[in-house]
Structures are given as structure tokens and as C-alpha cells.
């Protein structure tokens, strides 16, 4: 039998990295445009972050500090698995602290703490095509992007308003980048959309199964689609985080019993922990010293 393979730094072979790197550069040059790339099979399933992993593997170097989150948390199993993968194949330092990371790979959230210059946010994207649910054919959606023909999207949003009295899209809420391309922000809640606008960080998006990479450079205009009479608005939670008392953050609902009891806690676990370390306490939290 063949000898067990010796894997290259960051797993991917150099030729694959070059191909992905060239795609990333074009993605940065055409913000919001989906660059086709020859996605590789990765040692994790398609749909589980192979696009993000390929992007991260192509940019990461020994000096980087990597943070991986899923649903905002560092400790969700798939985030743990991807972090362990890079610790193993690229021997990089990992962290859970948003501020310490040079690269943050994420699924479904943007960290609460504003990202800074030099940081890179890598999104895992399942369906990169914002028009896909309106038109399943790639041959058609490609034409729509080429012609900047986004009427269908507005029709869909407007039908929402007609039926529900509001735009009923709550996550993967489409955005327009630099006034040109309509882009899928990945299935982040629309709560996070404003964080993409004029971010200081470079935002890279990888869709492995769908063979697409796209990007939003720092200081780039990212506007959520809306209508004058129905302006875009984000979710608001009625109560603060039960652990750290944070407001204006995205919360997870936790079911406490089978009698309807529930509480809300921060989705961004790192932000929550830092706040608690700084002495913030929610209604169900305990001061840090007492928790020892």
C-alpha cells in the first residue's frame, strides 16, 4: 500500500494555493463578484466549511493567529474541529479572543467587537448566489449579474411586504456592494449586515461546494437592500444577555425547562466572557470571583 501521505503546510498543495490566491486577488479587485475557482475535495464534508477552509489555508502563514467561530461561539463542535485542523496542518497559534486574531474564520456570525485594520474575516458560505432561490440556474443568474439586472430580487422582497407586511428575510439578507453587485453575506443574521459596511477588516468569502470566492475589501460600501417605505432594520432583543447584561448584541435563546422558561445569552461567547471578566453581570450571571 502507498505510504501515508505527507501533507503540505496548510494541507493544500502549492499549485492549488496559487490558483485560490489568484482567485482571491480578483475577488478583491471586483468587490461582491463571485469568482469561480476549482474547489478541491477537503478532508471535511462539503457544506461544512470547505470554502472557508480553502481560503484560510491559502492565506495563512506561521505568523498568523487564528480564531474560528460557528454561530458566534469558539466552542461549537465544527469550530473546534476546524481550529484543530489548522493547528495540526499549519502549526499556527489559535485564539478565542477576537482582538488577538489576525484571521477569523466564521460560520453565521460577525463578531460583536469591531474588527480592525489588518484583520481578515473568512466566511464559510453554503450558497453564494443571492439570486439562487429566485432562479436556480447558474447560466441565468450569471447573466443577471452581468447586466446588473436585480429586479427579481426587489420583486421577491416586495412580495414579502405584500404578504407579511415586512421584508421576511431574517438571515442571508442580500446586500449591494459598492453600488454594483448584489451579494449574499452568507447566512449571518441581518443583525450583522451593518458590520460589513465600511469595515476596517478584509472580508473573504469561500463557497467550496459551489466553487466560488468573493470579497469585500476594507472601507467598502455594503448596503442592505430595502425600500424607501420599508427601510432595512435589524433585529432588536427585548432583554439583555442574562450572563453579561450586554445590550445591542445578538443573543441565543436557551430553553430552560418544558414550561416555556427561556433565557437569552450572547451568541458571541468571547465578547460575553470578556464582558464578564470586566465585571459586567446579567440577571442570571454570577460575578467572576464568585464563580471560581
Amino acid at each position: 500500500m502507498n505510504a501515508v501521505a505527507q501533507y503540505n503546510f496548510a494541507y493544500l498543495d502549492e499549485q492549488t494555493k496559487r490558483m485560490i490566491r489568484r482567485a482571491i486577488l480578483k475577488a478583491i479587485a471586483i468587490p461582491g463578484y463571485q469568482v469561480p475557482f476549482s474547489s478541491r475535495e477537503m478532508p471535511m464534508p462539503y457544506g461544512w466549511g470547505t470554502g472557508g477552509v480553502q481560503v484560510t489555508a491559502s492565506i495563512i502563514g506561521p505568523q498568523d493567529v487564528l480564531k474560528v467561530i460557528d454561530q458566534g461561539a469558539d466552542d461549537t463542535t465544527n469550530a473546534v474541529s476546524i481550529r484543530a485542523f489548522f493547528a495540526k496542518v499549519a502549526q499556527v497559534e489559535t485564539t478565542t479572543h477576537t482582538a488577538d486574531a489576525t484571521i477569523i474564520q466564521t460560520r453565521h456570525r460577525i463578531p460583536e467587537k469591531p474588527l480592525g485594520r489588518g484583520q481578515i474575516l473568512v466566511y464559510q458560505v453554503p450558497i453564494p448566489e443571492p439570486l439562487r432561490f429566485l432562479e436556480p440556474r447558474e447560466t441565468e443568474t450569471r447573466k443577471m449579474h452581468a447586466l446588473e439586472e436585480y429586479g427579481l430580487m426587489h420583486v421577491k422582497l416586495y412580495e414579502d411586504i405584500a404578504r407579511h407586511g415586512r421584508i421576511a428575510t431574517t438571515y442571508a439578507y442580500p446586500v449591494k456592494v459598492e453600488g454594483r453587485y448584489v451579494m449574499d453575506p452568507s447566512p449571518t443574521p441581518k443583525f450583522d449586515n451593518p458590520k460589513m459596511h465600511m469595515s476596517e477588516a478584509l472580508q473573504l468569502f469561500g463557497a467550496g461546494r459551489e466553487h466560488r470566492i468573493y470579497a469585500v475589501p476594507p472601507h467598502t460600501e455594503v448596503v442592505s437592500l430595502d425600500f424607501e417605505d420599508h427601510p432595512f432594520e435589524i433585529q432588536h432583543f427585548e432583554e439583555p444577555c442574562a450572563l453579561c447584561g450586554a445590550e445591542q448584541v445578538y443573543l441565543d435563546e436557551v430553553i430552560l425547562d418544558d414550561r416555556g422558561g427561556h433565557m437569552y445569552v450572547c451568541s458571541d461567547t468571547d465578547n460575553c466572557e470578556e464582558r464578564r471578566e470586566a465585571g459586567h453581570v446579567g440577571v442570571l450571571g454570577t460575578p467572576q470571583e464568585a464563580a471560581e
Binding site: 503540505n8 503546510f9 496548510a10 502549492e14 499549485q15 494555493k17 496559487r18 490558483m19 490566491r21 489568484r22 482567485a23 482571491i24 486577488l25 480578483k26 475577488a27 478583491i28 479587485a29 471586483i30 468587490p31 463578484y33 469568482v35 469561480p36 491559502s58 492565506i59 495563512i60 502563514g61 506561521p62 450569471r142 447573466k143 449579474h145 452581468a146 447586466l147 459598492e178 454594483r180 453587485y181 478584509l202 470579497a215 469585500v216 475589501p217 476594507p218 472601507h219 467598502t220 460600501e221
Partner: protein, 198 residues
């Protein structure tokens, strides 16, 4: 005889990674000067910065165009041995183009501008200039630039402002430009708007 075997990256994996991050930072932050942290050696008419960019981005899947002073057997052998990149004569077929001076560069519009459906299939031009600063001051605006920035590279093509405006007008089509000198790179993606003045 020099057959181009010398002078590749000593540590291809990490030098390519470092080179890529430099170039990526340059394009993500147009107009900023980004240093190649793990520099390569110059080879014949190829400056060290051209070598770094070439080795970082090119392989058998990326057709490249070379300007006249690079069309010599030693450079071509170097390219063949270290990258395997096919060398094309027509600028319009190049994924990447390398030029040692603006004088050797055809009009930007002669390179591959991509298509409306596939604007990514356009040429990235890598132009060696005498210096990335010290020239006439130009104002930059666009994605990656907070408000506005200033650049002053030496050795830009004649009528660069006009050519660049034409290129900008084609968006989403258009070429992307990397200016290299002094162990560094300055990126001008097609989105950057450039004007004269302070």
C-alpha cells in the same frame, strides 16, 4: 551557461505565502506601499520584486506576457523552470503581465479586460517602476481606501490618468495593476479612482 535554474525561492511554501499576503494587502488597501518581507533575488532583467510576484502567482495554469527586455532566453528559461507558466505573445491572452518599464507596456486596453459575465478573467499587470514615491502626487479613492489617499510613483505610463479612467469606466471589466520597486508593491485594482492634485 545560465539556464535559469538558480534563484528560485529558497523556501517556496513560506516565501509564496508571505509574497501573497504582501500582494493581497496591496490590492485590498490600494495605494499603500507593502513590503515583500521575504525577498527573492533578481534574475537577469527581472527585478527582485518581479521575481517575487512571478514565483508567488504563476504556474502552468497562468499564461503570462513578458515585456521586450524580459523576452530573453535566460528569463524565459527561468520562468519555464521555476513556474512552468506558458509565455504568450498577445497581451490579450495573458492572465498576468510583467513589464520592466512603462515604455515597454502596451496601452492598458490591449490586455485581457475580462467579460461582463467573467470580469475576473482579466490581466493583472505587474510593472516595475523606478520608485513607488517621489513622483507627481495623485489622489486615490475607492474600495479599500478610507476617504482618500495619495500616491506618487515614478515611471507611470504616459497619459496614465486617462488610460486609467478608461479602465475604471469599464467596471466590472478592466485590468488590475501592481507597481513594484524598492522591495515593495503598490496595488491599484480596477476599482480605484485616480485624479491629479493634492
Amino acid at each position: 551557461m545560465d539556464i535559469g535554474l538558480e534563484g528560485g525561492f529558497a523556501d517556496p511554501v513560506l516565501q509564496s505565502q508571505a509574497g501573497f499576503r504582501t500582494i493581497m494587502d496591496a490590492l485590498a488597501n490600494p495605494g499603500t506601499v507593502q513590503n515583500f518581507t521575504k525577498s527573492a533575488l533578481a534574475h537577469g532583467a527581472l527585478t527582485a520584486e518581479l521575481v517575487s510576484t512571478l514565483l508567488t502567482l504563476c504556474d502552468q495554469d497562468s499564461p503570462i506576457w513578458l515585456s521586450d527586455s524580459l523576452r530573453h532566453s535566460d528569463v524565459e528559461a527561468f520562468v519555464a523552470f521555476h513556474t512552468g507558466a506558458p509565455i504568450v505573445r498577445e497581451p490579450a491572452r495573458a492572465m498576468l503581465a510583467f513589464a520592466t518599464s512603462a515604455a515597454e507596456l502596451p496601452e492598458l486596453g490591449q490586455f485581457n479586460l475580462g467579460t461582463q459575465e467573467y470580469p475576473d478573467r482579466s490581466t493583472t499587470i505587474v510593472l516595475a517602476v523606478p520608485a513607488l514615491s517621489g513622483g507627481d502626487e495623485l489622489i486615490t479613492r475607492g474600495p479599500g481606501i478610507r476617504d482618500h489617499g495619495h500616491i506618487s510613483p515614478l515611471g507611470l505610463p504616459e497619459d496614465f490618468i486617462g488610460q486609467w479612467a478608461d479602465n475604471r469606466e469599464l467596471f466590472p471589466r478592466g485590468i488590475d495593476l501592481l507597481l513594484v520597486a524598492d522591495g515593495a508593491v503598490l496595488g491599484l485594482p480596477r476599482t480605484t479612482r485616480i485624479a491629479e492634485g493634492h
